[in-house]
Amino acid sequence: MTALLALLAAVVATASGLPGLLFRRRPTLAQRLSAGALCLAAAIGFGAALPVLAGSPPSVLHHAWGQPFASLSIRLDPLSAIFLVPILAIPALGAVYGLAYWPQAQLGARAIRLQLWYGVVAGSMALVCLADNALLFLFAWEVMALGGFFLVRSDGDRTDAQKASWVYLVAAHVGTFAIFAFFAAVGSARGSFDFAAWAGLRSTGAAAGWLALLALVGFGLKAGLVPLHFWLPGAHAAAPSHVSAVMSGVLLKTGVYGLFRTAGFFEAPPASWGIVLMALGAASGVLGVALALAQHDLKRLLAYHSVENIGIITMGLGLALLGRARGAPGLVLLGFAGAALHVVNHALFKSLLFLGAGSVQHATGTRNLEKLGGLARAMPWTAGLFLVGAAAISGLPPLNGFVSEWFVALGALRALELPLLDRASFAVLVAPVLALVGALAAACFVKVQGTVFLGNPRSADAARAHESPRAMLLPMALLAAACVGIGLLPSLVVGPLSRGAAAWSGMPLAELRPDALGALDSAAWIARVALLLLALVGAVLLWRRRQRTAPDPVSETWGCGYAYPTARMAYTGSSFAQILTSGFRWVLFPRVRFAPPRGFFPSSSRFSTEPREAVLDLALLPAVRDYISATSRVRHLIAGRLHVQALLVLATLIAMLAWRLLWW
């Protein structure tokens, strides 16, 4: 029954773009209908997911399908339900935001196209989480990837959007290829392509290792693990902001879902898999935040933070796998709960931040940090909501990001309870890595909040900023409320998370429950203390305001006593981050252009840095360019010559026949 409801939600979401096409004459109404359909889909999806999260048994729906090997199998278990909630909620909020941000009344066909693909992506993401058959999964996965391509191209006339969309498409298909190979290998070995028949895959031996590697590459590319993250910043920055919120907030999570689901197939995975995942997660976390620090583009910066957060999630998953390998329920629960909760939390605060970035771009027309500044005065609501998201992503209590990171950190400390000299106890190193990542993320968001919202406007565009309309503020306010809610009341989510961990690992719920309650208790205490501190600070501020008789003097920030200071003298975001980024030169490869001042009366001098995407700009693109120039010589021989091409076909045919006859 609940599976049917979830399927209905996916169908409604998929069809939500149609009103825009049908009621072209009344664009405002059409767009409202479309957003309403997505909200309805989210409501239906909640109706399906919440009973499963509250403990009702998994719901299965099975139908024959005409395609070979495929069946229309839908399964809604706690793991699917955890992912289904953000996957349906974020697109609905994004669509409401889009009413003001990407209005069909002004943009016409571009908005209609965007809404069509937006709905298709939302529906196919839901189907990915529900599919219980490999071919149905691949079908939904491919529709989702293609829909994402068209969403990135919403601004198709911009060259950066075009380039980013092609890189995205290539990366998506390489990933699909790896997943395809993985599914084909497992399916033919098991004789069925239904996931139900795949439980208990053997995890020892070289073959299992290769299978796991295929899945890691395929799903890791979608999730954006370092070094497979290269497609992500460009695509997320080029898309319209509410699309970026969906792509960064939930589309990446389908890759994480795939990793979770795949790990669930194997029985007792070896400890080395968990350690590999933790190492990859640690690399993604640290490098993601280091790359984010160096960015000048607000949305690229946020996109790199997605890499960082995916790293945190992967570390949690690695811990859970390690726990299964060593039979330690504490590790399983804390790792799984941390990772799964961070999936939801990241969806909430990253969407909030991307929507905030969209509001900034909407108000000023630029995403360049060095051209913004002082927006808090013009758009106080946006600034406040963005601050909530920034605090949450930095993992500060009493917000939701803290709870999930706390779970992962506690899980890492549990690794110390493993027998002495077990190499798996190195997993405790996850805790300092988390601390480093959290601190760097906090520094990065101090930079963002400081350069965008505080100080004085650095350009005329920033000076003309205005507060966003209510349709844009409302979704952000809801997201911020959810962030605060989970942060203050983590007891709401701990039941579903422990049920999910039990279903995923096959361990009995009673064994996992005590750890969950213990972690919950400490998280709730820290949140209370943090709330108390915040209240104290608020009270002191209020008291001081009451004591004050004369208003504060108004002067330039960083004025340094100049008589006529300009915004160009202000401390820039790059200067702020420089002290941290200089330690990461070995991964950032910034392009520095420096013309130093010369002589006693220097006329002009310049200094600029431009961060580069190391994997894409320095490794992949040059390699592709070399490959093309090498093959173009061969291509020259055959291009346009029909006979030679037919001859090649003939030669291949003969060679294959000969091979079949002589060596088979």
Binding site: R641, L642, H643, A646, L647, L650, L653
Partner: protein, 215 residues
């Protein structure tokens, strides 16, 4: 009955060799049409009691209409509109291509026993004829210069595939066969139109001249 089937297979191979040696386009088109008619006849002759008769009649009828009637008519129209009669200066001469074709026939008869196939009950000439016909088709595509002859080569190649398909009629759904026939018709249609357009624009159907169009 068995003798007629043998005869039909042998005629198909002989037509292959005739096509390799022929320089007159009209005769070549007629040969391809005759081969198509033979194929539809073969589809009927190979029907044993085990087969679905309606299915075989549909396949044979479709093949006859398209291969023996519709496509030749299109081809004749094409060469009439473009006023060409002969294939001049092939890349590989007539005698060498005849020798290569003969070699192909010998090899396909010699090697066909080694191929693993889904069924064992079949006419002994079926696989070698199919291989020889595919070989002839590819040879025509590779060695001839006029676009019309290349289309003919493509048709012969398709005939070979069709013979192979007769082996699999029990396994192949009607929709797949209908799809193949439709595909073929569409391909010839497109090639005919393209040839006509090229001829009008460039006053030549020499594919070597087309090579200068490459990127």
């Amino acid at each position: 009955m068995g003798a007629w089937t043998d005869m039909a297979f042998i005629l198909v191979v002989v037509l292959d060799l005739f096509l390799l040696a022929s320089s007159r386009l009209g005769a070549a088109i007629r040969a391809v049409a005759l081969q198509g008619a033979l194929l539809s006849l073969l589809a009927l002759l190979l029907t044993s009691s085990g087969h679905d008769l309606g299915h075989m009649l549909a396949v044979a009828g479709g093949a006859f209409f398209i291969k023996a009637f519709l496509i030749p008519w299109l081809m004749f129209r094409a060469i009439r509109e473009m006023a060409i009669r002969r294939e001049m200066e092939p890349l590989v001469g007539y005698v060498p291509s005849l020798i290569l074709g003969g070699l192909g026939v010998v090899l396909s008869f010699a090697l066909s026993r080694g191929l693993p196939l889904p069924t064992n009950e079949m006419h002994p000439f079926l696989v070698p004829t199919a291989l020889a016909t595919v070989w002839t088709g590819l040879l025509l595509v590779v060695s001839r210069r006029k676009a019309v002859t290349q289309v003919l080569g493509f048709l012969v190649l398709e005939n070979g595939v069709f013979i192979f398909g007769l082996l699999l009629t029990d396994f192949m759904p009607v929709m797949v066969e209908a799809g193949v026939l439709l595909d073929l018709l569409a391909a010839v249609f497109v090639m005919g139109i393209v040839m006509f357009q090229i001829n009008r624009e460039f006053a030549s159907l020499d594919t070597d001249a087309l090579s200068s169009l490459k990127d």
